[in-house]
Symmetry: none
Subunit: 212 residues, 4 copies
């Protein structure tokens, strides 16, 4: 009656359910999210959710798949191969740092998923097929840097990648408990800039050092 009813828009209905579910699962996780809330937010009814996705769990998986697909897309649009190694690393560090900040839903979904021991990612063939494009990119940068003599040559790309991701992820994911316990909000603009600088300084300092 007073609610805007969308009629006969299968594509749109599916999309609205997916984005509504992303928000609800981000807050609350799998068990905390409510199907009626998702339906209401998607301007449809609960039945359609089952019609399109089969079950709450399958919907959760679909949300994860979409979030990962977005990340992979963004990574693919990064073109670091034309940059100097130092600039490439700096650029990559900034990209990762910003991506999580701008997609905190993904961060929350990842946290939830890890609390489930990645059960739903493992069951998704789509996610398993998409290998992170950024790792091979990183390998190339590190190799180029080593060949140019600006980087040490004993760096494992995967290990280095988690190092690049860790600080940004950690201060964002733990912002609330850190604020409660340390009394500082690491997501305020100035503070963010300082931590990012610390992070890039640290990794570059390490890369430039000769292996012992």
């Amino acid at each position: 009656m007073n609610e805007p009813k969308i009629k006969r828009d299968p594509e749109g209905t599916r999309r609205r359910i997916l984005s509504a579910a992303a928000e609800e699962f981000a807050n609350g996780g799998l068990s905390g999210a409510r199907v009626d809330q998702i339906a209401r937010r998607a301007l449809t009814n609960e039945r359609m959710l089952y019609y399109y996705f089969g079950s709450k769990e399958q919907l959760f998986t679909a949300v994860l798949e979409q979030a990962f697909a977005c990340l992979a897309d963004a990574e693919r649009q990064l073109d670091l191969d034309g940059l100097e190694p130092v600039d490439a690393i700096t650029r990559l560090a900034h990209f990762i740092w910003n991506y999580y900040f701008e997609h905190q839903d993904l961060l929350r979904l990842l946290n939830n998923e890890n609390l489930h021991e990645a059960r739903y990612i493992k069951n998704s063939s789509r996610i398993n097929e998409m290998m992170s494009p950024v790792t091979s990119m990183l390998s190339r940068i590190l190799r180029r840097g080593a060949e140019a003599g600006v980087f040490r040559n004993d760096v494992d790309p995967l290990r280095f990648y988690v190092t690049l991701s860790a600080l940004g992820y950690y201060v964002l994911s733990n912002r609330y408990t850190l604020a409660a316990i340390l009394g500082r909000d690491f997501t305020e603009p100035e503070e963010r800039a300082e931590v990012l600088r610390l992070s890039t300084d640290m990794v570059l300092c390490y890369l430039r050092t000769k292996a012992s």
Copy 2:
């Protein structure tokens, strides 16, 4: 009947409930944990849970309080003031790294708590009262290092502390999604040792560099 019934053991009952709750809340979080499961695991009945803790949420808070109290205790037992600055930092890095590894329940509780935006920590006067003892310790180490000329002198202790914590926390918290996506398990013993080495190398490398 066939279960061992413990009778008249208030201390023990309370303790059993608390530790059962810690496990159940670690898996599943606040909404995922089931009070009947907690009661069963504690070898008591649901009623006692309310008798001792009032509500599921208050029990959750009590679990958080205990986990934080344990961490604070462990931090207090660290005596770094007698060590050389470099050794002290190394020791601290190892401590943090190992503590989360050996107390993954705390890590999961923290993740859950951050998904709740730290609502339950904020409501706990006990937790708010216990300021992390490690930060003042870290300040002293950094100052000593700077005075001895081995460390740069522009390092913010809190910012440095989250840097120390971040990598260990990240690879542990995200082990499942990292394994699914990057195909490597960062919690295997050898891998852990390598990542820890990378981490300490990186921070020490940074500390030794003169400020730009």
Copy 3:
């Protein structure tokens, strides 16, 4: 299985819940009534009760609203304006007397509601909107009687209305304790007739007396 299942009858389901609730709330009141009993009696399940009414308390309010709506309907169907004043008063006295007798659920609901200090009536906008139609009717009768010289002219209509209601309500509401303590059942047919006669004699006797 062996119970008659009614399917796809929203009107009927709602109605059956309401009438089942009326009975259960009449016995036992708000706290004494059980939602599973109401559901069983309504040949449906507990969930539908919440589907249609939201909560036990809202269902209680809906039951009160319906009972009051019935009373107001019955009052509206009384046409006393064409009768002689004495006949009109007699007729009204009989109506009130009989209505409570034939709707003892309403009486019990009213008793319960007064034990709650009318909390649920106050929260019902529907009930607050329907002013008792009978009071204005009574005003007109009393005025006509006074103008015709058969009634005294100092009678307050509302005060007189509660006098008319009181005796019938009291002997019915307190029938059980009166029977236990005085040893007489005031709801037996002969006794009822006598008390009704006493009541009408009394009020008419009073109305006919000149004001002192």
Copy 4:
């Protein structure tokens, strides 16, 4: 610790439980009252309630018994035999009117008990033994009045007694719903005085009228 603990006062404990129970049962009735509330209000623990009274229902019965015993006591202290019949009736009407007003707990208990169909009064031998002293008193007054020629001689004492009680009980018991529906509070001092006057005028007017 911070609560005043009463120790070794069996008489007092019993009394405090009884009066606490009276209040809790008056609000909420049998099913609405909570044993822990009663215990807390009585400054003792739940166990003592069972020690002294056996069960919640037996406690309810004991409360009823005490309330009735108080009423019977008060009635016995009325000495109407020395008064003129008209004064005696007036005095009795005022007594009843005031007693319920000053003992609204009794009124609420009676309402609750009638909602239970007087189950608990019936099971109390004590209450069944105490016949209301006021009825025989009333018989004597009516006889004297009739013999003196001031009262009609066809009045049934019991029927007349309920008439005397009804109005006072009704406006008090139904004060909240009457206020909500008629918009007038019949328990305000001035209004009470007027209704009492209406009531006594009415019964005296009736008594003075010759039988038809």
